[in-house]
Subunit: 357 residues, 2 copies
DNA sequence: ATGAAAGCGCTAACAA
DNA sequence: TTGTTAGCGCTTTCAT
């Protein structure tokens, strides 16, 4: 059906090796080069990467396993990575495992059968069992957003504790003392870190944490709605709420609207991610912004480094670490990067006492 | 490195054909079956789909080419499709072409080299030049959302004209006569259709369309912001605006907030897509909702039908067409499906005159 | 039911 | 520089 190198060989009278050489940057006489190019044109030849992959044991394909494709944090990272990887000839197979450990394991097995060259994973199973088999292949794994104790590999993380501290301290600075939090599932790495930041900020300001002010959501919109409803019901004295991911932030805004609560005079709110959504809220939301674009870049770069080693044209960059990224290497040579978040100021935080402008 | 069928053959003392037979549902003696399964277990064997793909000329991989992965309409469809396709053993390679015709063409070429079994495309190039080469392979193409004159293939569309008519007529019914529209790029199929619906509704109600009420956006958030700013500036008498996709709807809401316009008493608004966002708006947005989930299902089903023919277990379903889907076949056997949208009522439309409740 | 062998389209080692 | 050939891991006749 489709033309093969053999067809080109026949048409040009050249040998297979010459054609292969042409495609792989070898030396081919100018005259033959022309002939080959003509044949390619006429036969509509396209390299068969499947055959090439079988031979070279490299499919030029990266598997990405994430909890939910419609969590904006995931979507944004995938957009960035896919772009870079494809520009380097790599395809990306994205598997959405619906926040299900079993599906996550199946996704990795699926990708193993597809013989992907590497896996990028924002893990659901914090024990990492799903990755053990792939790790045996010796191919690179990069973890996003969540570390796993038992899996030694490269990681790109966000400084979640600091992020939460920034948010809660901003509330303290504005005179708030009774601050609710809509946290994530307690078995999720980032949720633990963000919760830790909430506690740390309280400790620093000598304010005791009340249990009633803590709600554990599930990182979904509906979870955010329920969270705000619960917190408001349980805490009449509460003056502010910090929501710890985008989906729940949207849910909290929905809840606030449906409860008829007016921001910020009746309640202050700090959300997470998605600048545009914050702008669309009235009043504009104050929030913690994660550098998804940067995460995507870092992950893609590390993956390409692992795959192409010194061949990668970005190798030089590896040296220049921007100030907002902390990079270090584990004893077994893996890279751990931690990126900083940023507070984006809106109008959703009320100033209760004499406070900074 | 990784175990192969040969390894299993050696370990079990069986021939290659028997092992292959085992994997492909052939008859294998119970005793040998056991032996094979033991060997698989011990060797951590996983089928090499690359080799299989080379032999069978089918990669069990579908390419998806879309304008922007972060257009929620695209994201939602991809989530639905990927799920179904993976459950049938197919991987999905998504290529985001950034609404760029050249990148779109490159994406298709990239997928051709990867020898995908089929392509699903929401086209940017309305001339369809990017698909010509792939079409020659005889492999299936399914177009989403936008038809292309020159490319005869299966299409899953939305009744955009009706969608726009529904929205504009709702405004008429509420007494509005000066209705602005933030449309899409005039070379995009859906944008043309939605604009046509706007005109048709005006015609039906005997209201002349004013040029100043029409703004052509670019389907981005920023485009929506600019759109609402422009329309408000140009039309002091305008009482309502219809926005024709989600991103611009969010933009319009941002613009309305930043201009300090109060919904719905100062201006009525009807948006597009994303129910959750509508709920998060205050007042809750009235909007046109597209059946993305259903689109995803239809596209995946048609693709699997084309690929597996009568082997597909869904074949029976092909007969039962839900009432809100109009299906027909072109003379050359291609399927054209058109799905209906739904109006979701919020509180963003003011009733100006005596009107229906 | 099982085995032997050819071949999918490519790369790479070797020879010329 | 170019041609010949083996083989990547699998499926698939064709024998047995």
């Amino acid at each position: 059906m489709a033309a093969t190198m053999k067809d080109i060989a026949r048409r040009t009278g050249l040998g297979l090796a010459t054609i292969s050489s042409y495609f792989n940057g070898g030396n081919v006489r100018e005259k033959n080069r022309k002939k080959i190019e003509e044949a390619i044109e006429e036969l509509h030849y396209e390299v068969n990467e499947v055959a090439r992959g079988l031979k070279t044991n490299a499919t030029k394909t990266i598997g990405v396993v994430i909890p939910e494709l419609d969590m904006i944090f995931c979507t944004e990272i995938i957009i960035g990575m896919e772009d870079i990887l494809r520009n380097h000839g790599y395809a990306t197979i994205v598997c959405d495992c619906r926040t299900d450990k079993l599906l996550e394991k199946e996704a990795v097995e699926f990708l193993m059968r597809k013989r992907v060259d590497g896996i990028i994973n924002m893990p659901v199973d914090s024990a990492g069992n799903h990755l053990k088999a792939f790790q045996r292949t010796g191919k690179p794994i990069i973890l996003i957003d969540r570390m796993i104790q038992d899996i030694s590999c490269d990681c790109v993380l966000v400084d979640n504790e600091q992020a939460a501290m920034d948010a809660v301290e901003l509330l303290f600075a504005n005179g708030h003392r009774s601050i609710g939090i809509i946290g994530g599932p307690s078995d999720v790495f980032t949720a633990q870190e963000r919760m830790a930041g909430y506690f740390k900020a309280h400790q620093k300001h000598g304010v005791a944490v009340e249990n009633a002010l803590i709600y554990h959501g599930d990182y979904t919109i509906q979870g955010g709605v329920r969270g705000i409803e619960e917190l408001v019901k349980r805490n009449p004295q509460m003056t502010a709420v910090f929501v710890t991911n985008y989906e729940m932030t949207m849910g909290a805004v929905i809840g606030v609207n449906e409860l008829g609560i007016h921001l910020p005079d009746e309640l202050s709110l700090i959300g997470f991610d998605n600048l545009q959504f914050a702008r669309a809220c009235n009043p504009k939301l104050t929030l913690v912004s994660q550098p998804t674009d940067r995460i995507a870049k870092e992950v893609a770069r590390i993956m390409l480094d692992r795959l192409e080693g010194s061949r990668s044209d970005e190798q030089q960059e590896s040296g220049n670490v921007p100030g907002n990224i902390r990079r270090h290497r584990t004893s077994d040579g893996h890279i751990i990067e931690k990126l900083q978040t940023e507070m984006i100021l809106g109008k959703s935080v009320a100033c209760l006492a004499k406070c900074m402008p």
